[in-house]
């Protein structure tokens, strides 16, 4: 369909187009992601800019997919993506291209999706896999208009892709109406967080300036404007290109001055339309855009020839635009003008026709649209089944927010209980309430879920009281309202109607809740009760696993670790015997958490986590539980100092392309390794990725993120950035997370100490505050359980020692820190403390011999880990103090923690990881190939290679390979 939009030149946006091209394509490296959010008032030209930029990116070799979000509030989940794929499919079909099967495959995948556990995350992964196939190695650009109406699923998908979790080079270009961001729009917060990232830009599109306005008007009119006309146009349009264009068009057609405002311009045009065109415009206004041609024909009931003439007239009057997929109103303003033109009865006739036409044919958004039109046609009885179908469809695609809205709509359509009872509608109101409550619970509408549950409880065919207690407790716990949740569980336990199974469930969940509240003794009692109850009930394995975990942790906190461990091991056996995969997976997870958490039996915890990961992968739960178990293994390996191994495990876990909290855990774990290695680029990328995911929610991970940011900044000598990160963390952390808080405070104090050492300004206020927080943490941890206290004590020892660095570092305090970390078998912080202890001793010019010993010990550990920045600091200090780090002949005696095989002398300076890389270099592999082999990024390999070159003092891969071959142990 012809539309003359493109005939008008794009004025005043050349810079923007250049910016977009470089931000979204040229400046994006392989495997990286980028996003630009264009904001601006309506009519400022966002859609036009998106289209032009999309065309240019396509010409430059990108695969561009374009879609728009819908404002009907109840569109289906992922609508803009589906729309983009359908459009692309149509284009490909037209040009007989080969990728069409990949597109079809992805569309088919949506059609076949079924609801299930971790469905939403698995769907994200499959979508990114599908996009990967479609892109065929080309950079992918998603262009999304009207993002202010984005559904929650699409929002999560975008953050997932932008965080690089889909392992896809993707850019996002999206337009957001500035007006919509006023008030309480959910995107506001997302943009506040995203705009801080290097890969994201927010482009505020301003109206044209006076010169641009005249240029555009001249282009439309086809001749220069007179001074008076130009001034009037500038005054009336305020530089808004849409307004400029429409006013200039009136000017060209000699209608200038008749219409003062844009509204009047459009009113005049609507009035001038022929009868049939009038009908067409109103029909499109009542429809869900884009309105397909066949649908418009059915609704207007015009014969083909007349319809085409009518559409042409509406397009010529610039009220309608046509595209391959259907018709849209030219602009929102047109809709506003038209809104007051029809009588309500006329409008409901149009909706009825839409509904009737859609009933006979399936189309995009079928059920949601059908419900929408039947409702507005005043036919609740016919809208109801469509709303129910739409809700089920949304649930199938894991869009609980959308599903919840459809269930609520269905409830409203069903009317009050009395209405349906006296022969009105044949609906199972209780069933609707049950679904509405459950979906509300799933999408975080806790209060709504609870109030729907109350309605359900009052309904005639309400579920039994016991089931209601348990469900209410579950909703309350999810809402963070622990006290009433506890009361509900207790009610379930005393309710005479409860089945033994239900009682076991309630007791097990109550035990878990109490554990989270830190009431270990209570939790233990309830867990024992649950185990007794479960013993009487055949098949209550889930309850056994849950209660055992609660009991295991409560015993661990109450200082009877062996008893707790035994219970948890038995639960694993029980789960294995019963054989339900989720129970086995949960049992492994709890056991691994218990070992690596409160019990601090790290080596065994790692073994259990890895064995469990293998086992659950066999059971088909790779994506969910394997990833979680591997995250536990990674963190355990990091702490015991097996970094090379940790790196492999985390890479294996990330291959599942996890999403949400699981992804954040892994990215943080990998980032922790990169910070330790001193791989700044890799650490930075992971921090950005985590921040991207967290922009969509997840306050729990903010403090670990900020702690790592501070740690990284310190290796870069940026105490100021470290200070900022810690300050933010201090204002956003709950003081009962003592372990996490203690680590943060240490980073803050270390930043000040490093600033002092670098002769930069120390922030005295920050030091005072940090010390206050440290004191508070110490006070709170006095009453905490032993395992919690142990973690905190290590960090507090570090804190106290860092404070002493501000005023003549105290070797005794550092020695205490060394002892604390040695006791916990955490070599990295212990090595750091040894470095500082040596530094303090040397500064006092006392006991140089022990300083030398400390430095050598620290160096050996740092080298074994591959902790480059720490090694460098140790080397610098050793050089200053003339301490020899390598004792002659003693450097290759295999004392290193991770040393796998004896190697020749010249390679002794390399870490295990570096030796692995060098071996691959000697095989003639490229960095990319090595990266694939070792499951780490190409860039990290580059860093390793440059370290290898430095240490071996060579300049080429050939020279390095020669040394490797010469020293290889035969």
């Amino acid at each position: 369909m012809a539309s003359d939009v493109d005939l008008v030149p794009l004025v005043g946006r050349a810079d923007h187009l250049a910016t977009l091209r470089s931000a979204l394509l040229d400046g994006v490296g392989p495997g990286q992601t980028a996003a630009v959010f264009v904001t601006g008032e309506s009519g400022v030209g966002k859609t036009r800019l998106l289209r032009e930029a999309g065309d240019r990116l396509r010409v430059a070799g990108a695969l561009v997919l374009t879609g728009a979000c819908l404002d009907i509030g109840d569109s289906s989940p992922l609508h803009p993506l589906l729309q983009a794929l359908r459009r692309f499919d149509a284009e490909l079909t037209a040009s007989h291209a080969r990728t069409s099967s990949a597109v079809r495959g992805l569309l088919q995948m949506f059609a076949a999706e079924t609801a299930g556990p971790d469905g939403a995350g698995a769907l994200l992964e499959r979508v990114s896999r599908g996009l990967h196939l479609i892109a065929q190695g080309r950079p992918l650009v998603l262009v999304l208009d009207d993002l202010q109406w984005v559904d929650r699923s699409t929002r999560q998908l975008l953050l997932y892709l932008l965080a690089g979790l889909g392992d896809l080079q993707v850019s996002v270009l999206a337009a957001v109406r500035a007006e919509s961001l006023q008030g309480a729009h959910p995107l506001r917060r997302v943009l506040t967080e995203l705009r801080r990232l290097r890969s994201v830009r927010v482009l505020d599109l301003s109206p044209l300036d006076r010169a641009g306005t005249e240029q555009l008007a001249t282009a439309v009119v086809g001749a220069p404007l007179g001074a008076e006309a130009a001034e009037s146009l500038w005054q009336r349009s305020g530089g808004n290109p849409f307004v400029v264009e429409e006013l200039a068009r009136d000017l060209r057609e000699g209608r200038d001055g008749l219409s003062e405002t844009l509204r009047e311009v459009f009113l005049a045009r609507v009035d001038a339309l022929p009868q049939a065109a009038h009908a067409v415009v109103h029909a499109v206004a009542a429809g869900v855009e884009p309105v397909a041609h066949w649908l418009l024909a059915e609704v207007t009931r015009l014969p083909e020839g007349e319809l085409i003439d009518a559409v042409r007239a509406a397009v010529a009057h610039r009220l309608l635009v046509g595209d391959d997929d259907g018709y849209r109103l030219r602009h929102r303003l047109v809709a506003e003008v038209l809104a007051h033109e029809l009588l309500p009865a006329e409008r409901s006739v149009l909706h009825r026709r839409y509904a009737e036409a859609l009933t006979t044919a399936t189309a995009e958004l079928h059920q949601a649209r059908l419900a929408h039109h039947w409702r507005l046609a005043g036919e609740p009885a016919r809208a109801l089944p469509a709303a129910v179908a739409a809700a089920q469809e949304a649930e199938r695609l894991h869009g609980y927010a959308e599903a919840h809205r459809h269930w609520s709509a269905a409830l409203q359509l069903a009317g009050p209980p009395a209405a349906s009872a006296d022969g009105g509608l044949d609906v199972d109101r209780a069933e609707l309430l049950r679904h509405a409550a459950e979906t509300a619970h799933h999408c975080g509408e806790h209060a709504r879920a609870l109030s729907l549950l109350e309605e359900l409880a009052a309904a005639e065919d309400a579920p039994p009281a016991c089931a209601l207690h348990i469900r209410r407790a579950r909703y309350l716990a999810a809402a963070g309202r622990s006290a009433p949740a506890e009361a509900e569980y207790r009610r379930a336990l005393t309710d005479v109607d409860c089945t033994p199974r239900e009682r076991a469930t309630a007791a097990a969940h109550l035990a878990e809740l109490l554990l989270h509240l830190g009431r270990y003794a209570d939790a233990g009692d309830r867990a024992r009760e649950a185990l007794e109850l479960a013993a009487e009930v055949e098949g209550s394995v889930s309850e056994v696993v849950l209660a055992s975990a609660a009991l295991g942790f409560s015993e661990a906190y109450l200082e009877d670790p062996d008893a707790g461990l035994a219970v948890m091991r038995e639960a694993l056996d029980t789960a294995e015997r019963a054989g339900r995969p989720e129970d086995v997976a949960c049992a492994y997870l709890h056991l691994a958490e218990l070992l690596t958490g409160p019990l601090n039996i790290l080596e065994e915890g790692v073994v259990v986590a890895r064995r469990g990961a293998e086992r659950v992968a066999e059971l088909g739960l790779g994506r969910t539980y394997e990833t979680r178990l591997l995250a536990i293994a990674t963190n355990g390996l990091f702490r015991v100092g097996q970094w090379a191994e940790a790196e492999k495990v985390v890479a294996a876990a990330l291959r599942h392309r996890p999403s949400g909290a699981d992804a954040v855990e892994l990215l943080l774990a990998r980032c922790r390794l990169s910070v330790g290695y001193g791989d700044i680029a890799a650490a930075d990328r992971d921090l950005e990725a985590v921040a991207t995911v967290l922009a969509g929610g997840g306050a729990r991970h903010v403090i670990p993120l900020l702690t790592l940011r501070a740690g990284l900044a310190m290796w870069q000598g940026r105490h100021d950035l470290a200070r900022q990160a810690v300050q933010r963390g201090l204002t956003e952390s709950r003081s009962d997370d003592v372990g996490i808080l203690a680590a943060l405070v240490w980073h803050g104090l270390r930043a000040e100490a490093e600033a002092h050492a670098a002769r930069a300004t120390v922030d005295a206020t920050a030091v005072r505050r940090l010390r206050e927080v440290a004191e508070r943490v110490a006070r709170k941890s006095e009453h905490a359980a032993r395992p919690v206290r142990d973690v905190v004590d290590g960090f507090l020892a570090l804190c106290e020692a860092e404070v002493s660095r501000l005023d003549g570092s105290d070797p005794a305090l550092w020695a205490r820190s060394v002892a604390a970390w040695d006791r916990r078998h955490h070599p990295y912080p212990a090595a750091y403390s040894r470095l500082r202890q040596a530094e303090a001793l040397l500064a006092r010019r006392s006991r140089t011999a022990s300083a030398g010993r400390l430095l050598r010990e620290a160096y050996q550990v740092a080298q074994g880990l591959g902790a480059e920045p720490l090694s460098t600091e140790i080397r610098t200090l050793a050089a200053r103090a003339r301490v020899a780090l390598e004792e002659r002949g003693a450097s290759a005696d295999g004392r290193s923690v991770t040393r796998a095989e004896p190697v020749g002398d010249e390679l002794a300076v390399l870490t295990t990881r570096e030796r692995e890389v060098l071996a691959a270099v000697a095989e003639g592999l490229t960095n990319k190939e090595i990266g694939q082999r070792l499951f780490i990024s190409e860039r990290t390999i580059g860093v390793h290679v440059s370290h290898i070159f430095d240490k071996l003092q060579v300049r080429t891969r050939v020279q390095a390979s020669a040394i490797f071959l010469r020293n290889r142990s035969e």
Partner: protein, 258 residues
């Protein structure tokens, strides 16, 4: 705007530069307000008696107290309060940005105060009160909704968040007397005139009362937040109400407060 003088006169570029940043945590918000204060008092012709500076100073005082409260473990849910504070401030900075661009999107609740920036001279107390009015009656409910939405929580009475929210009233109560000093009786009279139906006004209740209204309004918006039309309706309603009250405060009647 054409050839006319920039909105912020000689400090225009500085203010544009400052507003280009979007503070994302409470220390940054305090930093922003501090810098803004230094610029506002340089704005001719009123300089030190710039009515917006009167509000900004009060707001800076309150926000600094909130920041100290966060450092001092004063709140039960600091994540909530810190985000709320950032969202809350973002709306003030947004309003300033719209005003800077002479955008029609500037909330009316704010523009009645911004208009007075270049004179005629307004008394400090009503000016600060007009700002508090716009910020609490208009901005706060929306900041609450956005915060709850992003934390996947919701505005429920009696929760930790609600208690923290009310704790801010305490901060206002601690800070306002020193700003209000002897003007209490006039305040009281003014409030009585504005809210004829409220008969239990006493010292320090203005903020507490309006803050409770803001919490209720947030709950109201929360319920219709998925409905763009209803949400917009609420926004216009709150803007109109706050603007009406703001104009009254800045009218000769408001000067009476001083």
């Amino acid at each position: 705007m054409g050839m006319s003088e920039p909105v912020w006169g000689p400090v225009h570029q500085d203010i544009v530069g400052l507003l280009a940043d979007h503070p994302a945590d409470v220390p940054e918000v305090v930093d922003h307000l501090t810098k803004l204060q230094k610029l506002l008092v340089r704005l001719p012709p009123l300089e030190r008696s710039c009515p917006l500076a009167d509000f900004n100073e009060l707001y800076l005082t309150i926000t600094t107290s909130v920041l100290n409260g966060l450092y001092d473990d004063r709140f039960a849910d600091p994540v909530f309060l810190a985000r709320l504070d950032v969202e809350f401030a973002a709306r003030y900075f947004d309003a300033l940005r719209y005003w800077t661009e002479s955008s029609p999107a500037t909330p009316k609740a704010w523009s009645c105060l911004f208009k007075r920036m270049r004179g005629p001279d307004a008394r400090p107390l009503p000016s600060a009160a007009a700002g508090v009015n716009a910020h609490i009656n208009f901005d706060l409910p929306f900041a609450l909704v956005t915060t709850f939405d992003s934390l996947e929580s919701e505005p429920v009475d009696g929760t930790d968040q609600h208690r923290d929210y009310l704790e801010i009233n305490q901060i206002f109560a601690e800070r306002i007397p020193e700003l209000r000093r002897g003007y209490l009786d006039n305040w009281q009279l003014m409030i009585d005139m504005l809210n004829g139906d409220i008969d239990d006004w006493y010292q320090g209740e203005l903020v507490e009362y309006t803050r409770n209204v803001a919490w209720r309004n947030a709950q109201k918006i929360w319920r219709c937040r998925h409905d763009p039309e209803a949400r917009e309706c609420e926004r216009v309603r709150l803007d109109d109400n706050a603007a009406a009250l703001g104009r009254l405060l800045l009218s000769p009647l408001g000067a009476f407060l001083q």
